[in-house]
Structure formats: structure tokens, C-alpha cells
């Protein structure tokens, strides 16, 4: 939670540069932009390895987040949860640089009339923005009044003021903090909301079987979604986040085989979907939610098929001997599908139009095995797992137009199955860097990896839409 002395020093140094900026709007930047700049730099392709920092080429907004004032009789435990969650959300959002609490003035504001602008804008705090407020409990209800002020422009109106309401429970204190964090991020990133209220679906063996689980984006509230007691794999959210399609091992014509299952998070049950002969797996929703692409060997070779979301109008879109799987629709256009095929030998990435025409191999500057494609929300970048002949399994990002590459993980176990967050600034993936296979997230430039799961074996994360 508390910044180390070393990073504080760096942040103070950056302040000198930031001081030249006066316009608040100019600080609305994103990690995605940083990556775009890197990819445009041109040298990315030739370099074997480089590590990007989120601050590279851009500067982050410097935000102070003092603890919320307590209006009696709010329990201190709720305040602690609220503050910890808010701090964690903002620290990890990718566009902010949080001021260490050790530099804060002794008197912290709980409402706008108590905010002393100069105390926060001057050294040592040197903040541009301050997020503050107060918590109050009325019988069983919790209310958080949140404010965001630009302390460099005392005459500017308050950037954000909102009252968040819920029950006086730890879970709701957490929820309200996420809401406030998302509103702050939206305000400071030019309208693109944060991801603090998103979920991650994943596969866990904690119950003794591989089942689909879901958790908050920060790893809290892990809960089991399916109870099939067989093997469930490869969860993918529907675009409206009301359903999860996945691979399930269920009996069909007397044989337990991989089939497509769909779980409704709204009605808390499985929705019927057709069963097919052979092995069926890796369902993926089209961006409008009307269609599902998946792998099926119903006619022999494992090929990619597309159906309506209800299972009607089945048609095949790949026609090449070998394995064709892992379809991923371009979320922006819906007219393009990335997939994996070993038609040329090793399994590698291909692009095709969503009707299967115009197949194009995504050539990489080295041999190997490239799998698990995941599109960035803007439809321009593909994250994937690449096993180079000499190396481990690592996460890379490719600009599909320029074909330029950034390596996001290195020398840290096997890193597979990336999935983009809806803000385009974060990626969740699975890694064996701490021994067991676990779910991790990181900023989309590879920095700030965070372990989200610890118990059992956890894999195949998929980030929910908003």
C-alpha cells in the first residue's frame, strides 16, 4: 500500500517535469497510447527484448487519496475496506501516480469546504488532484460522499462529486470504492471508465474438479460458477456479461466428450446448446452476441464452425487439414476472426474474415508456436502466447496492421492465455512463475504483474466486458 522511499523519489522527480503542465485535461493519457507510441517507434521488430514502463513517453496524473473522514457511527472497519480498495484500484488503473501518504498535510479534508488547495499542490505532496470524502452509516445503510478536486486550479469547479449508497457491509464498502474509483478514472482518462467493477472468469480445480469460477478484477470474491463435477475449460463472456460460454465434458451418445456449454449468470443455470459428435471446444461470442464460433470435429478434422447464439444455422468457416481452433472475433469490427491452425506445421496465428474468406497467416520473425489470441478492445492489437524455439511460453502483443511486436513477459515460468480488460490497459493471463499455474494480471505493457489466485490450480482467465 505505502510507496517505498525509492519510488517516492522517482515520483518527486517527475513532479518537476509535470509542474510545467497547467491544463488538467492534458494528463488524460493511457497505457494503450504508450504501447501505440512504442509500436510506432519502429525499432520494436528488430529488438529481441525490451521492457516498457507505463510512464515511458507519457506522464501520469499525480493524485493524492487521503483517508475518508468518518461520520459517526461508521465502523472503522468499513472505512479501512473502503480506503484500501479505493487506493488499490487507483494505484493499478494505469494512468495515475499516487502520492505517498507520508507527504500528506496533517489535516485531511472530508468535504470541499475543508480542502486547502496549497497544502496539497505544494511540495512535498505536489499533487494535481485530490480524491477525498466521508463515510456515514444510517442504521444499516452506508453512504460514501466522494469528491475529486483539481488543487492547481482553485477556481475550477469540483471535478467530481457524488454520493454512493449501499448496505453497511464489507462487500458494499468494497463495491462503493470500486464505483468511485471507476468514476475518477473516467474523469481523468477522457471518458473511458475504469475496470474496478469488472469480473474475471477462470478455471479452478479448487473444488476437486476443474470448474468455471469468477472473481472481481482484483482477485476478491472468488466463487464457483459451475458444479458439473467433470472438466470445464475455456470460459468466454458474452458481450453483455450475462452468459459464459465454455468447454464442458458431458455425456453425449454414451461417450463423455468435450461439448459447448453456456451458463447464464442472470438465471444462474446452464442454457441448452446443441451437442455434436466428436470433440467440441473453445466457444467465442461475436461482438454483438448473436453468434458463437467454436472448434468442432463433428465432420472429422477439428475445424471452426459458427452458429447463432442459440445453436441454429450451423456452418463451417475453416477448410484446412489439421487443427483449427481458438477463434477470437475482432471486438471492434466483428468482421475478422483470429484463430490458431497447424495447417503449415506448428500451431500459429491466422486471421480471416468472419465468413472464413481471406485467410492470412500472421508471420512472426522467428519460428515457434503462437496460440491463444485475444484482441484489444480497439481491435488493433492481438495479445497471444508465443513459444519461440529457444524460449519459454511468453505473452506478446502484436499490432495486426504493422505486425510490430512487444514482449510482455520473460524469464518467469510459462505465461499463457492472455485476455484484455475492457479498458485496453490491462491483461489477465495464467503463469507458472510461482510454481503452480495461477491467474495473474498486468498492465498491457507488461509492468506491474499482480497475482490474483493462490489456492489450487487456476487457469484460462477471461476478462468480462464492462
Amino acid at each position: 500500500m505505502i510507496c517505498s522511499g525509492k519510488s517516492t523519489q522517482t515520483k518527486t522527480g517527475r513532479f518537476e517535469k509535470n509542474k510545467e503542465n497547467t491544463m488538467t485535461r492534458k494528463i488524460a493519457i493511457s497505457v494503450a497510447l504508450a504501447i501505440a507510441l512504442l509500436l510506432c517507434a519502429g525499432s520494436a521488430f528488430a529488438q529481441d527484448w525490451f521492457k516498457t514502463g507505463t510512464g515511458l513517453g507519457v506522464s501520469k496524473a499525480r493524485l493524492a487519496v487521503p483517508e475518508f473522514g468518518l461520520r459517526a457511527p461508521a465502523p472503522p472497519a468499513l472505512e479501512k475496506t473502503f480506503h484500501d480498495v479505493l487506493w488499490s484500484d487507483l494505484e493499478y488503473c494505469g494512468i495515475l501516480d499516487l502520492v505517498s501518504p507520508s507527504f500528506y498535510p496533517t489535516q485531511t479534508p472530508s468535504q470541499p469546504s475543508e480542502l486547502k488547495f496549497a497544502d496539497w499542490s505544494n511540495a512535498p505532496a505536489s499533487a494535481y488532484m485530490v480524491a477525498y470524502g466521508n463515510l456515514s452509516v444510517d442504521s444499516t445503510n452506508l453512504a460514501a460522499a466522494g469528491f475529486l478536486s483539481d488543487v492547481h486550479n482553485p477556481t475550477a469547479p469540483i471535478a467530481l462529486q457524488k454520493i454512493y449508497r449501499g448496505a453497511a457491509t464489507d462487500a458494499d464498502a468494497r463495491r462503493l470504492a470500486h464505483q468511485f474509483a471507476d468514476d475518477i478514472v473516467a474523469k481523468l482518462s477522457g471518458g473511458l471508465p475504469g475496470i474496478a467493477q469488472t469480473q474475471i472468469a477462470f478455471v479452478s480445480s479448487k473444488s476437486g474438479n476443474k470448474e468455471i469460477w469468477a472473481m472481481d478484477y482484483d482477485g476478491s470474491n472468488q466463487h464457483q460458477v459451475t458444479h458439473l463435477k467433470s472438466i470445464s475449460l475455456t470460459p468466454r463472456w458474452s458481450p453483455d456479461a450475462t452468459k459464459i460460454a465454455f468447454t464442458c465434458y458431458v455425456p453425449f451418445r454414451g461417450i463423455t466428450s468435450p461439448q459447448i456449454c453456456i451458463y447464464s449468470t442472470a438465471s444462474d443455470r446452464l442454457i441448452s446448446f446443441p451437442r455434436y459428435r466428436g470433440s467440441n471446444s473453445s466457444p467465442a461470442y461475436s461482438p454483438d452476441g448473436s453468434q458463437i464460433a467454436f472448434m468442432s470435429s463433428q465432420n472429422g478434422d477439428p475445424e471452426i464452425y459458427v452458429t447463432d447464439a442459440g445453436g441454429g444455422n450451423l456452418h463451417r468457416i475453416t477448410f484446412a487439414a489439421g487443427v483449427n481452433t481458438s477463434p477470437a472475433w475482432n471486438p471492434k469490427t466483428g468482421k475478422q476472426i483470429a484463430f490458431v491452425s497447424d495447417r503449415g506445421g506448428d500451431p500459429v496465428l491466422y486471421l480471416a474474415n468472419s465468413d472464413g474468406s481471406g485467410v492470412e497467416k500472421l508471420d512472426l520473425p522467428d519460428m515457434g508456436y503462437s496460440v491463444d489470441p485475444s484482441w484489444s478492445p480497439n481491435g488493433q492489437l492481438l495479445a497471444f502466447c508465443w513459444r519461440r524455439p529457444s524460449g519459454n511460453f511468453d505473452i506478446y502483443v502484436m499490432d495486426v496492421i504493422s505486425k510490430q511486436l512487444v514482449e510482455l513477459t520473460r524469464d518467469a515460468g510459462r505465461n499463457e492465455r492472455p485476455s484484455w480488460a475492457p479498458d485496453g490497459r490491462h491483461i489477465v493471463f495464467e503463469s507458472t512463475r510461482n510454481g503452480q499455474r495461477q491467474v495473474w494480471s498486468m498492465l498491457a505493457d507488461g509492468s506491474e504483474p499482480r497475482q490474483l489466485t493462490y489456492q489450487g490450480q487456476n487457469e484460462s482467465p477471461n476478462w468480462s466486458p464492462r
Partner: protein
């Protein structure tokens, strides 16, 4: 659903038929044919002995019956003693026993025996026959192994699949599910596809050896059901296979 029931019924009938055959076979072995006495000028004695039933529970009665020629003296052991030239007698063996009749005459001596199995009730015969079918399957049906990221049939896989085909030809009532498996490395999704390709490669090879396609189903377990969980090549090789499972 109906299709599945019919198929199950068919399989059941097949198994019953097999058991009946196997059971019959066993009985013949149990009661050995009598020792043949070649006709000779000195008229050597001949003798036969039968025990019915040949398999009983402890305390049940067995009927021993015999015939003889050219014998002056007949003796059944254990426990019966001297008997006439032909006839029958009850016996109550408490454990599995081989009864031997010795016929003595001017031309020499002849013997015959009959084995009575005690303890195994006749109704248990099917399960022991069934056991032997699954044992035969275990012994003769060989899995096919593959290279990393490959579904090509290697030389050793050809040898194994040829043995498997021989078994499937001999027991035409046996259906198989061919499971494709992969090692732990690499994409979960790709491995489901690769496992299916391996199962199909094994199936196609068996088809080329004359095994009917409709006796074989394929399914991929990807890397989800490893045979071995070490993280080395010896173990990975164990997991890259097409595995045969009997019937369904």
C-alpha cells in the same frame, strides 16, 4: 436415446454370447477326455469317468458315473473305493477334487479322472469370463504414442495398432472409444484439437487394417487426463497417446 439403448442391448448380447462360448470351453477343459487305450491283442482295459455337475458349492452332491471294458477290478479315489464295471454313485466333495478311476484287467491298467470344482457357484462363471475378456483387451490392445505437437503414426505406433487390430478382428463384438491425449505443454485449446487428431489418426490406421469405422468413436481429452504427472520427456511421452477404452 433409442439408438443408444439398442447399441447397449447389442453389446450386452455380444458379451453374453462370448461368455457362453467361454464357459463351454472351460467345461471341456475341466473334464479331460479319457485316456485312449489302443486296441491290442491282449485286450487292454478301457474306462471313462464323469462328474456331474463339474462345479458345485461346498456340500452339494455330485454324481460320478463310469463305464469300462476288459476290466476285472475298478477303484475310484478318493473316498469311493471298489466299484462295479459300470454305474454311478453320489459324492459330496468339500473342496475341489480330482476323482480318479483305475481299471485293472488281464491286459493291463487304465485310468480316467474327473475334476469337480467346489466353492465357485455356477452363477459366478459369467463374471470370471467377463474378467478374461477385459484381461484379453488389456493384454492385446495397445495404445499408439506420438511425437510432440504431432499426430503422425510412428513405426512403434504401427506395431501397436497392428496388435490392436488383430484383437478387434478376433472379437468383432467389441466396440472401442479412442481417446486422444496430449502432454502438459502448450495451449489448452490447441491440445483438445491435437488430441482429437491423434485419436482420428489411430482410427484411420485401424480402418486401413480392415476394422469397421462404426466400431470406433473418438474423443479428445487434450491435456486434462494425463497418465503421468512428472515434468520430463519420459512422462510427456506417456501422455502423448491414443488410448483405447473398451465398448460403451
Amino acid at each position: 436415446m433409442q439408438d443408444r439403448c439398442l447399441r447397449k442391448l447389442g453389446l450386452l448380447l455380444g458379451v453374453v454370447a462370448f461368455i457362453a462360448l467361454a464357459g463351454g470351453c472351460k467345461k471341456q477343459v475341466a473334464s479331460r477326455p479319457p485316456t485312449q487305450a489302443a486296441p491290442q491283442p491282449t485286450a487292454q482295459p478301457t474306462v471313462t469317468l464323469n462328474a456331474s455337475p463339474s462345479s458345485v458349492k461346498s456340500g452339494d452332491t455330485v454324481t460320478l458315473s463310469w463305464t469300462s471294458t476288459n476290466a476285472t477290478d475298478l477303484d475310484i479315489e478318493p473316498g469311493v473305493g471298489k466299484v462295479t464295471a459300470q454305474g454311478s454313485t453320489p459324492a459330496n466333495p468339500t473342496e475341489s477334487t480330482t476323482f480318479t478311476i483305475t481299471a485293472t484287467g488281464p491286459g493291463g491298467t487304465a485310468t480316467a479322472d474327473a475334476r469337480v470344482t467346489v466353492g465357485a457357484a455356477p452363477v459366478e462363471a459369467p463374471s470370471s469370463a467377463n474378467q478374461s475378456l477385459s484381461e484379453l483387451f488389456e493384454q492385446n490392445v495397445k495404445d499408439a504414442y506420438f511425437d510432440f505437437n504431432k499426430s503422425d503414426i510412428r513405426g512403434d505406433a504401427r506395431a501397436n495398432l497392428t496388435k490392436t487390430a488383430e484383437f478387434l478382428r478376433s472379437y468383432s463384438q467389441v466396440r472401442v472409444t479412442i481417446e486422444g491425449h496430449c502432454d502438459e505443454r502448450g495451449s489448452t485449446e490447441y491440445n483438445i484439437g491435437l488430441g482429437e487428431r491423434r485419436a482420428q489418426a489411430a482410427k484411420n490406421y485401424l480402418i486401413s487394417l480392415g476394422i469397421s469405422a462404426d466400431r470406433m468413436d473418438t474423443v479428445s481429452w487434450g491435456k486434462e487426463r494425463p497418465f503421468c504427472t512428472e515434468h520430463d520427456e519420459a512422462c510427456w511421452q506417456q501422455n502423448r497417446r491414443a488410448h483405447f477404452v473398451a465398448g460403451h
